[in-house]
């Protein structure tokens, strides 16, 4: 006890943090004082990365390491009692220290020997390793765990350790999930009651947490520091045990072999019986007091005093001694701030840190490397990266890989972003490989392990981190971290380039603006979703100029800018008509492009025939001063069916590579601005996340800092750009949405219905109007959507009044669906916020939703309540065509619009814009409303719209919220955001998604991120999902005589799940009958089976087809679904109540696999590949027949996810087919109005309807349904209904196409895109009505004036329209008159001549 008391006294007197003596001889700095300690690091000359473990992959490409390499067995116990220690850690840096500590005890301690084995948390997934772990724990005396924060693995640990807890002599758990912490046991000291506890310590921790809101981990560290105070209040016997625990924690944090030796000796002597007995009469080994470094400090590999506790001390040495010696000019050198983990410093496992510091310093940069022992780096950042209140760093690189605050435990992203914004420099978060060996990562197509992606890529992104570059790996034999030389070099280059953006004079900075031609086709140069590209470039150029950048003689109008690049707007890409900025000889190309020869396998020797004049590689674009506007080349293989099918082995072509070589090495760009959503760079072949030096996005972008403008509603693809092409995104608004409105026959119908409302009692005129309504409905093809009476035989005069109301109600409901649908109008220009009028439609939709989490009632609900109705009842009546409810619903909608308009009007200036939002709730606003009769203007508007009893107080919640949203909508930082990046500043992070569901998406102009992947599905999403599946099953039962479908094919999208917080994946779980369960930190990491009795219906089988982006973002959710489905398949239930089991049993029999294997239902592309490429094939017409498209779908999407091997996607074409065979229904979700099913090619690209038809034994076409959750009144429609609705609100709607045409060149292309996507639905699902093509042809081709406008504005896009019509006819999707076809053929010839200049 002697040593222990002494140590405790020391602790009590000086406190933990002062055990370190900054002025004395550093206790830990005994580099040469202890031969054993130094021996482990005395290796002068280790070679680069090595890992002797086998590369075989029992875990699907991951964690092929095994704990046996960490087992130490005493060689000569010599009769000493041996205690067995088992430890589990998240990362391996403790391994070499533990091993050394144990060996030292075995070599020198006369009283005890130690057998020790360690496990990396991730290894417990492996069944064999887990069994061994169980065995080891059963025999163990001491168990140690640290940083166990992965729910499913934490459970595994608890499952093993809990039963053994009694027999274990001590259990030491350092920061981990609460249920693991509860295992702690040191004599009488426990944390059993953690969370609900009466224990003094736990109480204290809880209180600490409440007091300062810091995380659990910080609480523990604080506790440690405050230990003396706490111990005073503990009963003395308990105090000893608590002290032991605290000492252990100190030793553990110390981490060196000496400290761990002390830890093991101390616990062994005092708590392990055989050793205790053996010690009787002997003197205890006196363990040294913990040798500790300060909690946080500045560290440098060659500093004489190991660490510096103030940056004054550091700079004194660094600037005066180190820099001159290293040839760095301390006055002019850029400074990189680096964040390190203390455990690596403690354990001297630091070579990966040293290597980055060396690479930076050898490039002439200064470094301030800061470590912290806690998980909250905000303190160290504030303390060490500032001097006299000013930041001293130009870029920060976080090498821990974790979120800035909270690490793997619980994060505080808001505070992190604020801390980083205050510092205002680029913030990169690089990732060390933890769960994989270097070779495993290198050979994996997925790249970084999914758990690490969740913890070390997704979470840091929410702080605003950019560039998840893998920089270090693990050496298998010793567990030491070793740098990856080429990655560390890249990291050094990139961080310095960002620093350069901060330091270089603006007038000298070179900026490359890259525009796209995607899909790479004629007439598509300068394309980007929802963006008026050239108008936006104009705005950016003006901003650059005003900030002092040199833009030379850049023209000041959109047309001139366009002209200068396209030369001729009719030009097509690859034709010499685009402006040539540079011709690169093949010699120069090979000289400057290190990977050029690797492209020859696919493209032959340079120059090839893409972006080539036959001799040189050609870069298209135009330079103005220091700004270059260039056209990104195309993928290059769009028209090649074989490549579309097997694009996995593809590479960019020489022209593509030459473009980026030009930017980096010839133009010497300081940064590149990728202009709009989206180009091809980030979709180039390579790993999914965690690029290696052979991945093409990495090779192409190389050292160039990249800013990427991305539509705010597309966070999923933006995330791909961030991760794969190292781009910081700047979000931009999608165009203002408007209600689709009505036109032509639909407008007539509305008028007829209105007159019917007045005259329905009139026996003469009422029936006549109904007859007109019926016939007009037929003209508008509404008979497809509404059950109409027979046109020939029906006469309303013979009908009952109820019958007439019924018909009118149904038609009314249908046209109101069309009228109120939102559509984005025109294209957005960067930096231009919506006008007041444009803001109204968005706000009306925001107002529709109830937001119970914020205690806000939707506007329709409040209005409906004023007439004593529940809004959901009204919706139900409306959907069933009850005239009275349709009418009321319409009135409520109109009243809502009036109210919002009244609110917005308050802040609208004379130009129709909103400069400043004037609150109606402040004094002035209240005074104003008093003057106008005591009511707020919006209340008055609702009263005027026919709801006199509406309660003003009840409106306040939603109206205040709308006012806030209005501020967000018009606050626009897009140009500001671009400039922040180009000026080397920190750009604030923001979620991406649908501004209507989540107004936090606004304001735009921020760095977009996806969700915390373990946060979804949320409880709210689960509830919505349940109501959607109920509606879906009701609809299906209705149509099938009360029978449930057996299997439903799902398509899941990344964006859709981000926007809805996982509604659609929750639908999958709901159909199967499992529910997600959140862990104690609120993360969704497990599922449980809902008992059949509770479910009240059979479990429906599913086939889930995930988009490549979904796979990238939500691999943990694929895991959840797979586990849920397998649970269902393995549940021993009657087959008529469990279709999952039924089908899986059949498949297992048929394919000769196990039931569990047969229950593979979660499919996607192979790692690193995206989409079925069906869209690409259709976009350029290069496909033979539908069977080719179906083959493409099956080949490319048939990779199964397997929760038992979470590290890989396995090609399982047979299982995929056999699962699809049983599908009765195909199903997709439509989550937002601005990306509907004909807006993008993705929806039909992944639609399996015809594929299923081909596979089914009865060749019956499955029903095809879509859930539309874009409005508060969610709907499930058939695919055909949805296509019609989309066509009526967009392609055929004058409001839409006129809006598009007003933006000119790009607008024609947008119209063509809808037409082509509509045809896509014919090809994959056969769900497009003939009238859609017919009406489109009437609108765009048969109208001579329209035809001429299209031709003049964008001849290439117009030619594509003509081609699409001809193709639709040729492929049998559109039957029409000979006359129409002849006209199209003639037009084709004319336009061709015109383009060719004949």
């Amino acid at each position: 006890m002697v040593y222990f008391k002494a140590a405790a006294v020391t602790l009590l007197c000086v406190g933990a943090s002062t055990a370190w003596q900054p002025n004395g001889r550093p206790l830990f700095a005994s580099r040469s004082s202890n031969a054993l300690a130094t021996r482990s690091t005395s290796t002068p000359l280790q070679m680069v990365v090595t890992d002797p473990t086998a590369t075989s992959s029992p875990m699907g490409g991951f964690t092929a390491t095994n704990a046996e390499s960490r087992r130490v067995v005493p060689e000569n116990p010599n009769g000493r009692p041996t205690m067995k220690v088992v430890y589990v850690v998240l990362e391996s840096q403790y391994q070499s220290s533990m091993t050394a500590a144990v060996k030292r005890i075995n070599a020198a301690n006369p009283n005890m020997a130690v057998e020790c084995v360690g496990y990396l948390l991730e290894e417990l997934r492996n069944d064999d390793a887990y069994e061994q772990f169980k065995k080891d724990v059963e025999e163990a005396n001491i168990f140690i765990g640290s940083l166990i924060f992965v729910q499913e693995l934490a459970e595994k640990v608890v499952d093993v350790v809990k039963p053994a807890r009694e027999s274990l002599d001590a259990v030491l758990i350092f920061p981990s999930m609460p249920e693991v912490m509860r295992l702690n046991k040191v004599g009488s000291f426990t944390m059993k009651n953690l969370g609900q506890s009466k224990s003094v310590v736990a109480d204290f921790m809880k209180k600490k947490k409440q007091e300062d809101g810091s995380s659990f981990e910080e609480g523990m560290l604080k506790l440690l520091r405050t230990l003396p105070k706490v111990l005073k209040f503990l009963p003395s016997d308990k105090a000893a045990d608590a002290r032991t625990f605290m000492m252990s924690f100190q030793y553990w944090l110390g981490g060196s072999p000496e400290n761990l030796q002390s830890l093991l000796t101390m616990v062994g002597q005092d708590y392990v019986s055989p050793i205790k007995e053996n010690m009787v009469g002997k003197e205890k080994m006196v363990a040294e007091e913990p040798l500790l470094l300060p909690d946080k400090a500045i560290w440098h590999p060659v500093a004489p005093d190991v660490v510096f506790e103030s940056n004054t001390d550091y700079m004194k040495w660094y600037d005066n001694e180190f820099c001159p010696d290293a040839g760095i000019d301390p006055k002019t050198a850029p400074t990189i701030g680096i964040l390190l983990q203390k455990s690596h410093i403690n354990t001297k496992d630091d070579t990966h840190y040293v290597s980055l510091i060396a690479e930076l310093e050898s490039r002439g940069a200064k470094v301030v490397a800061v470590y912290s022992g806690g998980l909250d780096y905000s303190g160290p950042v504030a303390e060490y990266f500032y001097k006299d209140g000013k930041p001293i760093v130009d870029t920060v690189v976080n090498l821990t890989g974790f979120a800035l605050i909270g690490g793997p435990a619980s994060q505080d992203h808001k505070k992190a972003a604020k801390v980083l914004k205050d510092l205002n420099v680029p913030y990169m978060c690089a990732v060390p490989l933890v769960f994989q060996s270097f070779e495993e990562w290198q050979s994996s197509e997925l790249g970084l392990h999914p758990i690490q992606v969740a913890l070390q890529v997704s979470l840091p992104e929410i702080d605003g981190a950019i560039e998840p570059i893998i920089f270090a790996g693990r050496e298998g034999a010793t567990g030491r971290s070793v740098p990856l030389a080429d990655r560390v070099n890249l990291l050094a280059d990139r961080s310095l380039k960002w620093a350069n953006l901060k330091n270089k004079e603006k007038k000298d900075k070179k900026i490359a603006i890259t525009i796209f031609s995607f899909p790479p086709d004629k007439g598509n140069v300068g394309t980007a979703a929802y963006l008026d590209v050239f108008d936006s470039i104009k705005a950016v150029l003006a901003q650059l100029k005003s900030e002092g950048y040199d833009i030379g003689d850049a023209p000041s109008t959109k047309e001139e800018i366009m002209e200068s690049i396209l030369n001729d707007p009719e030009a097509r890409i690859n034709s010499p008509e685009l402006n040539v900025a540079y011709r690169m000889s093949t010699e120069e190309y090979y000289e400057l492009t290190p990977y050029a020869t690797d492209l020859e396998e696919n493209w032959g020797p340079a120059p090839g025939n893409l972006n080539s004049d036959g001799q040189n590689l050609v870069v298209y674009g135009k330079q103005f001063g220091n700004v270059f506007i260039g056209v990104q080349p195309s993928f290059g293989y769009e028209g090649d069916p074989m490549r579309l099918l097997f694009a996995k082995s593809a590479s960019p072509h020489h022209g593509f590579a030459a473009y980026y070589t030009y930017l980096e090495k010839i133009f010497k760009a300081d940064a590149v601005l990728h202009f709009g959503t989206h180009g091809s760079l980030e979709f180039m072949p390579g790993k999914q996340v965690g690029m290696s030096g052979t991945c093409y996005p990495d090779r192409l972008i190389n050292s160039l800092p990249s800013a990427y403008l991305y539509a705010a509603n597309n966070p999923s693809e933006a995330t791909i750009a961030k991760r794969r092409s190292y781009s910081a995104t700047v979000s931009y608004l999608t165009p203002p949405a408007e209600n689709a409105g009505l036109y032509k026959g639909l407008k007539e119908l509305k008028e007829l219905i209105e007159s019917y409302r007045g005259l329905r009692e009139n026996e003469g005129r009422g029936p006549a109007i109904v007859n007109s309504i019926v016939s007009t409905s037929y003209t508008c093809n509404l008979d497809k959507d509404v059950k109409l009476p027979d046109l020939e035989s029906y006469d309303a005069a013979n009908d009952t009044p109820e019958g007439r109301d019924d018909i009118v109600g149904k038609v009314y409901s249908q046209i109101m669906q069309i009228e109120s649908r939102l559509l984005p109008c025109g294209l957005h220009t960067v930096g231009v916020p919506p006008t007041a009028e444009e803001a109204v439609a968005t706000l009306v939709n925001i107002a529709q939703l109830d937001r119970p989490e914020d205690n806000i009632e939707g506007l329709p609900r409040v209005i409906a309540a004023s007439v004593g109705r529940d809004i959901n009842d009204i919706y139900r009546g409306n959907n069933n065509g009850v005239l009275e409810d349709v009418d009321l619903n319409t009135k409520i909608t109109e009243a809502s619009r009036a109210a919002v308009r009244a609110l917005v009007k308050q802040s609208t200036d004379s130009s129709g814009r909103i400069k400043e939002v004037k609150s109606v709730f402040d004094d002035l606003g209240s005074m104003f409303s008093k003057m106008t009769g005591g009511k707020k203007p919006y209340t008055q508007a609702i009263i005027d719209a026919g709801f006199p009893k509406v309660q003003e107080e009840r409106l306040e919640g939603v109206m205040k919220y709308l006012e806030f949203c209005l501020k967000q909508v018009v606050a626009n930082n897009e140009l500001g955001g671009i400039m922040e990046l180009l000026n080397g500043e920190f750009l604030m992070p923001a979620p991406g998604g649908d501004p209507i569901r989540n107004p936090d998406v606004l304001p735009t102009g921020r760095n977009m991120h996806a969700l915390d992947p373990s946060a979804i599905p949320t409880q709210a999403a689960v509830e919505v999902a349940e109501s959607v599946t109920r509606k879906l099953l009701e609809k299906l039962q209705d149509e099938n005589g009360g029978k449930y479908p057996e299997s439903i094919a799902f398509t899941l999208w990344g964006t859709d799940n981000i926007k809805t917080y996982g509604e659609s994946l929750a639908q999958v779980l709901s159909l199967v009958g499992v529910r997600p369960v959140a862990d104690s930190l609120g993360r969704v990491n497990k599922v449980e089976l809902i008992p059949l009795e509770e479910l009240g219906r059979p479990r429906i089988d599913v086939v889930v087809s995930c988009s490549g982006v979904f796979r990238d973002l939500f691999i943990n959710q694929m895991n959840l679904m797979d586990r849920g489905i397998k649970m269902a398949a393995e549940a021993d239930e009657p087959l008529d109540q469990n279709f999952v089991r039924k089908h899986a049993l059949e498949q297992a029999e048929e394919l000769g696999v196990t039931l569990r294997e047969a229950a593979a239902r979660v499919f996607s592309n192979s790692a690193g590949s995206y989409s079925a490429n069906v869209g690409l094939a259709i976009e350029n017409g290069g496909w033979e027949g539908e069977s080719q498209l179906q083959e493409q779908f099956l080949t490319r999407k048939g990779f199964a996810f397997n929760a038992d091997k979470p590290g890989m996607m396995e090609q399982q074409a047979e299982l995929f087919k056999s699962a699809l065979k049983t599908v009765d229904v195909t199903f997709q979700n439509l989550d937002s109005s601005e990306i509907s099913i004909t807006d993008v090619s993705h929806y039909y690209d992944s639609d399996p309807t015809k594929v299923v038809q081909g596979l089914r034994d009865d060749k019956k076409k499955p029903m095809s349904l879509m859930a539309d959750t874009t409005t508060a009144n969610a709907q499930v429609r058939t695919l055909a209904e949805t296509v019609r609705l989309d066509a009526r609100t967009k392609l055929l709607n004058p409001k839409f196409y006129e809006g598009m045409l007003s933006t000119g060149y790009e607008g024609v292309r947008e119209i063509q895109k809808r037409l082509r996507n509509t045809m896509g639905w014919s090809a994959t699902a056969g769900e497009v009505d003939n009238f859609v093509f017919e009406d489109a042809n009437d609108t765009f081709i048969n109208d001579p004036e329209m035809q001429q406008r299209l031709l003049d504005t964008n001849p290439n896009a117009f030619r594509d329209m003509v081609t699409t019509f001809l193709e639709a006819n040729g492929r049998g999707y559109w039957e029409t008159s000979e006359e129409n076809i002849e006209r199209l053929q003639q037009l084709y010839a004319d336009v061709e001549d015109r383009i060719e200049g004949v």
Binding site: Q46, M47, A326, T351, P594
Partner: protein, 225 residues
């Protein structure tokens, strides 16, 4: 095996030096470190090269100048007797000493130390490596390869055989455990030895190869007897 008496004498000398901790021989470490892992931790190549036979005393140069009192006889002997692994280790250990890193209490060379390495010493070691490898090994050979690789570390490693492939995965050769490096003059590619650690970044080897001593061929000149 039949060592000549002179070889035996030299080996004794080496062992004594080992005790002086100027450098560490693998055999001396192996006697205290029991496991592969220890060796790996100590950065000791498990493979040792076979000593060749019949080396005459006369073959071993004795005029080995140093500006910092370093004794290169052991290196000369190892190279003369074909103990390439040991010579390799000696060379790296020597750099720590002659760069002054060791005096500063450090056990690795930081790139900033390279300028402190006396040209004389580098030249001495280089001549030994050159002589006993028939011009195949040495920093000057590596410098040529470096130039051919346009300063790209990955290409450089491929050129001098520091890289290998497992299936489709290219990786650096393993040092820990059973060393994969080739301690054989005939089989190794040009510039393969001596090894320089890139564990703390590639700046060390870059700086070594940019040492002024390689700016011309003066290092080749044998010192006067």
């Amino acid at each position: 095996m039949g060592f000549t008496p002179s070889t035996m004498r030299q080996r004794r000398c080496i062992a004594q030096s080992g005790n002086d901790q100027i450098f560490v021989l693998s055999s001396s470490v192996a006697s205290t470190a029991a496991t592969e892992e220890d060796k790996a931790a100590a950065g000791v190549p498990a493979a040792t090269s076979e000593a060749s036979t019949n080396i005459e005393d006369a073959d071993i140069p004795t005029n080995l100048p140093s500006d910092c009192g370093m004794d290169y006889i052991p290196l000369a002997t190892m190279l003369a007797t074909g103990q390439l692994a040991e010579a390799d280790q000696f060379t790296r250990d020597a750099l720590i000493t002659i760069s002054g890193a060791k005096a500063k209490g450090r056990d690795f060379v930081y790139f900033t130390d390279v300028k402190n390495i006396p040209a004389t010493d580098l030249a001495t070691m280089e001549r030994l490596w050159n002589k006993f490898s028939g011009g195949k090994f040495g920093y000057s050979v590596q410098k040529k390869k470096w130039k051919q690789s346009k300063g790209d570390f990955e290409t450089f490693c491929r050129k001098i055989g520091w890289t290998t492939t497992d299936g489709e995965v290219e990786r650096k050769k393993r040092w820990f455990g059973a060393s994969e490096f080739i301690y054989d003059v005939k089989k190794a590619p040009e510039g393969h030895l001596p090894l320089t650690s890139a564990l703390r970044g590639t700046s060390l080897i870059k700086n070594l190869l940019q040492h002024p001593v390689w700016d011309n061929d003066d290092w080749m000149i044998e010192p006067d007897k």
